[in-house]
């Protein structure tokens, strides 16, 4: 469903991705791990269509469509969701109004009827329960005054509302205590299914205890340098990244 081939990207004069290739099948959960500055968040931003990055080479196809031809809105409409590492505050705009606008905008662009108020609220209730988001947070301004954990839960709540085909979780575990981590993971796990794929970007193995991936990839120096099953995460936790990065360097040399 997602095929990234030899992707090169830069911001300004700095090349960050240097030939990244990755393939995700429908219903699969892939984890991307890697040291700081390896390009993990850049990958997430590029998938979501952030224009600060320039793709200089390579391709991304999503469900057979050239993703690089779509703008950020069109990608959301196509079913891509990014759970932000740093969710943005929008003062004065209630969470619920924001989501309703988003949901109905997507439906309109898909030439679907807008959701009725009743159906929308029923959906809100179900999705909010999934991540134990209480009524106050639903009615408050988007992310304004939310704690770190509340912001991340809100991201997963929005994901549940928008039902994407591909969800990219950018360090969703950062800043979470263990209880919040469990809640967030539960929300994500409840959404796993045959027609939904996840790309879980994380620094730490502990998230992967809760969201068990089908595949784990190591991103270093702008490329995927190693791939394996879920046990790779444990190995990385134990040994760090250096052995892989060094091995890769040796191979290159």
């Amino acid at each position: 469903m997602l095929k990234i081939d030899n992707l090169h990207a830069r911001i300004g004069d700095t090349e960050i991705l240097k030939g990244l290739s990755l393939e995700l099948g429908a219903g699969e959960v892939h984890a991307i791990m890697g040291p700081n500055g390896s390009g993990k968040s850049t990958l997430a931003s590029i998938l979501a269509g952030r224009e600060d990055y320039e793709v200089t080479q390579g391709s991304i196809s999503f469900d057979g469509v050239d993703l690089l031809e779509l703008d950020a809105t069109e990608r959301a409409v196509a079913g891509i969701f990014l759970a932000f590492q740093y969710p943005v505050e929008i003062p004065g705009v209630s969470n619920i109004n924001f989501l309703r606008t988003a949901l109905n905008s997507i439906r309109e662009q898909r030439e679907e009827e807008p959701l009725s108020g009743k159906d929308f609220l029923a959906k809100v209730k179900a999705c909010a329960q999934l991540v134990e988001l209480d009524g106050k947070l639903r009615d408050r301004s988007v992310n304004e005054g939310f704690s770190g954990g509340e912001k991340k839960r809100n991201e997963v709540f929005q994901m549940a509302m928008l039902e994407p085909k591909l969800a990219v979780l950018d360090e969703t575990d950062s800043g979470l205590d263990i209880d919040a981590l469990r809640i967030v993971a539960h929300g994500v796990n409840s959404m796993r299914g045959a027609d939904r794929s996840f790309l879980v970007i994380t620094h730490y193995q502990r998230l992967l205890d809760h969201i068990v991936p089908d595949f784990v990839h190591v991103l270093a120096g702008g490329r995927i340098v190693h791939s394996g099953g879920k046990e790779l995460a444990l190995e990385l936790e134990e040994k760090g990244y250096d052995w892989i990065v060094d091995a890769e360097a040796a191979e290159q040399a």
Binding site: A72, T73, A76, F84, P87, G92, V93
Partner: protein, 482 residues
Amino acid sequence: MSASEENPLLDEFTRKEYEFGFTTDIAADKLEPGLNEGVIRLISSKKNEPEWMLQWRLEAFRIWQTMEEPDWAHVNYEKPDYQAISYYSAPKSKVPLGSLDEVDPEMRATMDKLGISMEEQKRLSGVAVDFVMDSVSVATSFKDKLADLGIIFCSMSEAIQEHPELVRKHIGSVVPVKDNFFSALNSAVFTDGSFCYIPKGSKCPMELSTYFRINEAGTGQFERTLLIAEEGSYVSYLEGCTAPQRDENQLHAAVVELIAKDDAEIKYSTVQNWYPGDAEGKGGVFNFVTKRGICEARAKISWTQVETGSAVTWKYPSCILKGDGSIGEFYSVAVTNNAQQADTGTKMIHLGANTHSTIISKGISAGNSQNSYRGLVQIGPRARHARNFSQCDSLLMTDTSGAHTFPYIETKNPTAHVEHEATTSRIGEDQIFYCLQRGLTEEQAIGLIVNGYAKEVLNKLPMEFAVEARKLLTISLEGSVG
């Protein structure tokens, strides 16, 4: 990404024509350009005014001749040639109109185009409308219903004929003729406006509404509004405007006076959408307005304004808090785009003890515009325990626009409590991207963010007006992030 060439939406917006830019072809009864005593006598006699009114105008004209146009505001424009303006233009229908059916069909069509047809207003919102096209009111509705409560709501011309004692007693009592250059000019040449009188203890059951509209090319618009709320009464007044497209500048120098007697409350809401000129600012309206209210004991005046139009705006709706325990409020959203310039704010003059004032100002600057907040909080020596809270926020949509804040605080009583907060922020690319990622279009994203930013003020508007104002904000800023 910052330069406009990188944002095709910005270009598209800048080229977008003013949506309400059309003119109505109605035969008008219009004076030749120029201003002298003869012109003032003519205006007064055309309106069949009593002698005292004429004398008042002539005195104002003499005062105006000794004054100079102010230039302290943070705006730049070519001063109008006051001798090139025609000071009177009235639609030709002379016979007073009994019903809407008698209104000139073309004028009706104009109202329809604006989406504010009288029937619609009557049917949908229960709002009494005193519609002012050019300088003379052409139709007034709901008058009978209001009359039952002793409420007078009519054009200023009519008030001068029917209620001369009320007009004579109050006109110029809040904004003296010599207050400023534009108030003196208005006093000399005003042609019409609205008059409203709420008797003691009366709560006006509906929002009173006036739609202003400049229509005649080269005609100055000098509205005069006088609103008197007697003891313990309440009224909510709405004022909204659009104007047709013009190549030459149009001057709008209105004066609004509010009088709130003991325990009375006046809510005055404005949506201002005069023609802002083209992308270079050519042809837009000059909006030089003096608005002021006076509060007696425990009275309250609340100004709410949404300003999106005009090439140049110079406007400071103010409150004189004369009575003990009186309250003044000012809620403002001012949007400037392209070459627009706005210098707007308020004056809160605390004279009485325990007087409170609140100022919430939200400026939004886009394109190459300049947007200034200018506000004065003055605490007099007798104003024990006076309190003010001011919050002035500025939002920049582009890096070629400017936001300025000029707060003045003068305190002559040590028990006063004055707070001032100010912020300036740039509309976040992060905020926009977050919205886009959730499936919103750029227009929707800007609309949502800006309306969220201005929410505190928009919430103060009556419901129907708030809806209109939200749309207006979104339309005014479409594609304007650079």
